[in-house]
Symmetry: C2
Subunit: 65 residues, 2 copies
């Protein structure tokens, strides 16, 4: 999950991201640390939010889209 990288590039906090995605700050933290994995619909919401492909988000490719 390239989540932290993406979030930082936007210059926002876990809390702001969480609110924007209708979830919790601790959930974002866990995604970033890899302690938990989001479901597919969440994955799509995140990819939409950062305008990147899911493949990029999960580190399957190097090109954002």
């Amino acid at each position: 999950m390239r989540l932290r990288e993406l979030r930082k590039s936007k210059g926002i906090s876990q809390l702001k991201l969480a609110l924007d995605l209708n979830t919790n700050q601790n959930t974002i933290s866990r995604y970033e640390t890899g302690e938990r994995e989001p479901c597919i619909s969440e994955l799509i919401r995140i990819a939409d939010y950062f305008d990147v492909s899911i493949d990029y988000l999960v580190g399957r490719t190097d090109s954002p889209r």
Copy 2:
């Protein structure tokens, strides 16, 4: 999940796909009917297997890659 479509285009059964992916036939069935969702690592394995993007697999884009 464009799983059924992809599997059929390969002309293989749920059982064969399941064996190839080291999982169970009923699990594949559930993915196809949408009753259950795979975790990310499984998603990657499936996309690898069919050589398509995850975005395509989950129906987020129309181009396979």
